[in-house]
């Protein structure tokens, strides 16, 4: 492929070299993990009920989290994007805090209010409900750490929306609600989906806050830690009995499944765009 005259070859080569270093750093660990797990190891992970159950739990709770983020985040993003009000930039900054604090700090912060001995947690405890552990605790934690992505995407989309669209709809007699669902939302659906995907990704990768708020039932990231800490990197076999699949195997399985889901998302995203 001949380069056109005036092509800044040296410049591009230097950029490519630097990019190559980063690309290698980003790709090689994941590749090494997947290739480092033997086929028999992967089969051990796929047939292990605990591993499958925790991967399914990860998918389920991430999906729930993304749904909650959309249902509650679109309204917030809309308000922040559309209206100028006193304290708007303060609210804007506050909702970014969960994204910036260390994950263990997030877990500790959550437990000081939702733990069963604390303010809100104690209220629910009175009705026999626990807000820590189980799907409730997991989704509560995941929404805290990942919903902001959806809010931000929606907020930016609303800000760059042509205000004439809504005005025209209203001037033709449509109610505000009708306008919202039939004019505004369809125009920003791409950003909503992007936000939901970012929320999902962030949710399924969470571990630090979950150690504190919702250790069990374990999502995949926690199970992999349990396996690593208790049995080591590889499968544990004693007297011919398999004690546990290795952390490497379950990790490789999880990455493959996650990759599959995200490829699916990307296909759907692209199809809609065409």
């Amino acid at each position: 492929m001949p380069l056109s005259p005036g092509f800044p070859l040296r410049f591009v080569v230097v950029l490519s070299a630097l990019s190559g270093v980063l690309f290698f750093l980003l790709v090689s660990p994941v590749l090494s993990l997947i290739l480092g797990s033997s086929v028999s190891g992967l089969i051990l992970a796929v047939t292990n009920p605990e591993a499958i159950s925790s991967i399914a739990l990860t998918i389920y709770t991430s999906a729930l989290t993304a749904t909650v983020a959309v249902v509650l985040g679109v309204p917030l993003g809309y308000l922040l994007g559309k209206y100028q009000f006193r304290g708007r930039s303060l609210v804007d900054s506050i909702i970014e805090i969960p994204l910036m604090i260390p994950h263990t700090v997030a877990g500790i912060a959550l437990i000081t209010i939702f733990g069963s001995a604390e303010l809100v947690g104690a209220l629910f405890r009175g009705y026999g409900l626990r807000l820590t552990n189980d799907v409730v605790g997991i989704v509560l934690t995941l929404v805290f750490v990942s919903a902001t992505y959806t809010v931000k995407q929606v907020e930016e989309a609303i800000k760059s929306l042509d205000p004439k669209l809504e005005l025209v709809s209203r001037s033709l007699g449509a109610s505000t609600t009708f306008t919202f669902f039939n004019v505004t939302l369809p125009s920003i659906w791409r950003s909503v989906v992007t936000g939901a995907i970012l929320t999902w990704a962030r949710a399924s990768s969470e571990v630090g806050a979950l150690f504190i708020m919702a250790y069990y039932p374990p999502v995949a990231s926690i199970l992999i830690w349990n396996l690593y800490a208790g049995y080591g990197l590889h499968e544990s076999v004693s007297n011919g009995v398999v004690l546990s699949p290795g952390a490497v195997n379950v990790a490789a399985l999880m990455i493959l499944i996650n990759l599959g889901i995200f490829v699916l998302f990307k296909i759907v995203q692209r199809k809609r765009g065409s």
Binding site: I52, I59, Y216, P218, S236, V268, K271
Partner: protein
């Protein structure tokens, strides 16, 4: 433009439906093994008990309770105790690698009895890749691990008893071989620490992985870890390895401050209790009965722990009678705990 809007809506609906189906399907699968099951066991215990306890649950308890839902936290015993006392979590079983933690932290609010059921010993664990692996022996270990360039791994005394016990082992070795308890201690915890050649982790069991990946050369930990992970280890002198109950006085010559409290050297003893806020004490009892069954005792042994006979019980009148019966039926005698 209205055409694109319509087209987008259909796909949005389709994606939502697919998402809901996938989500529901995953949720259904999870529901099969969720905590709403009638039989749940929640265990909170020392990291070194993960392998034998999981074995007992999967090979013994599950055959009695096929639809059992089992969840656990295994970590440094102090951290595990904090889950109950600080984080207000409830479990059916708490077991510790330092028998003094139940009276120190859990009593009286969270526990009223305990049973000391097994012992362990300290060792130096390593692999073929460890520096000077071919030279190290039970007679020269304290000289080899202190050589410059050798990286040693221990756990944190403030989160995990084995961290304190590693310090006891090193201080006792100093007494035994040099007549000075600080001699070897300083070489490791002062000199090596300053050179970043001492790695301190919060949970003893993560040191195994550190060893496997070559991040450390030698780990001061329990022999059970080496045995259950099939790693190399040394049989050290009973005067330094904290294994012998009759040497308790010799061990008590050394001490360390952990979590702000002074703690004296002593034999490594594991104890277990059913916390008073246990959600399902009957399951806790079932587990402990299996722990003392012949199979349970075998599992303990094969993971490198020493099941005790006699066992030591604190406040026997508060212990559920089924458990006392199960112990006696296994031919194990009971003595009162100190």
């Amino acid at each position: 433009m209205s055409l694109i809007v319509k087209y987008g809506k259909v796909l949005l609906l389709l994606a939502t439906v697919i998402g809901l189906v996938v989500g529901y399907g995953a949720g259904y699968y999870v529901g099969l093994s969720s905590a709403h099951q009638p039989t749940t066991l929640l265990v909170d215990a020392a990291g070194t008990l993960q392998v034998p306890f999981n074995s007992i649950v999967n090979n013994v308890l599950r055959s009695e309770y096929p639809s059992l839902s089992y969840n656990y936290i295994f970590e440094g015993s102090r951290l595990a105790a904090n889950e109950i006392t600080e984080a207000n979590k409830s479990f059916d079983i708490y077991a510790s690698a330092d028998y003094r933690l139940i009276p120190e932290k859990l009593m009286p609010s969270y526990a009223s009895w305990y049973i000391i059921f097994a012992s362990n010993s300290m060792t130096v664990m390593y692999t073929n890749q460890s520096r000077y692996a071919s030279e190290i022996t039970p007679a020269n270990w304290y000289q080899v691990i202190t050589r410059p360039g050798v990286i040693v791994g221990v756990s944190d005394k403030d989160t995990d008893p084995s961290g304190s016990q590693a310090i006891f082992m090193v201080e006792l070795a100093g007494l035994l071989y040099y007549g000075n308890s600080s001699y070897i201690y300083d070489q490791l915890y002062v000199t090596k620490a300053a050179n970043h050649e001492l790695i301190v982790v919060p949970t003893e069991t993560t040191l195994d992985a550190q060893l496997e990946t070559g991040a450390v050369d030698y780990v001061l930990t329990y022999s059970s870890e080496a045995i259950s992970h099939k790693l190399q280890y040394l049989n050290l002198d009973p005067k330094v390895n904290l294994s012998n109950l009759t040497l308790a006085n010799w061990y008590s010559q050394v001490n360390v401050t952990a979590e702000g409290k002074l703690s004296k050297g002593g034999p490594i003893l594991y104890d277990v209790t059913i916390p008073s806020n246990s959600p399902d004490p009957a399951m806790g009892e079932a587990f402990i009965k299996d722990l003392f069954s012949a199979q349970g005792q075998d599992i303990l042994r094969s993971s490198g722990l020493q099941p005790l006979n006699p066992v030591y019980v604190y406040n026997q009148s508060a212990v559920p009678s089924d458990i006392i019966q199960a112990i006696q039926q296994s031919g194990i005698t009971i003595e009162p705990a100190p």
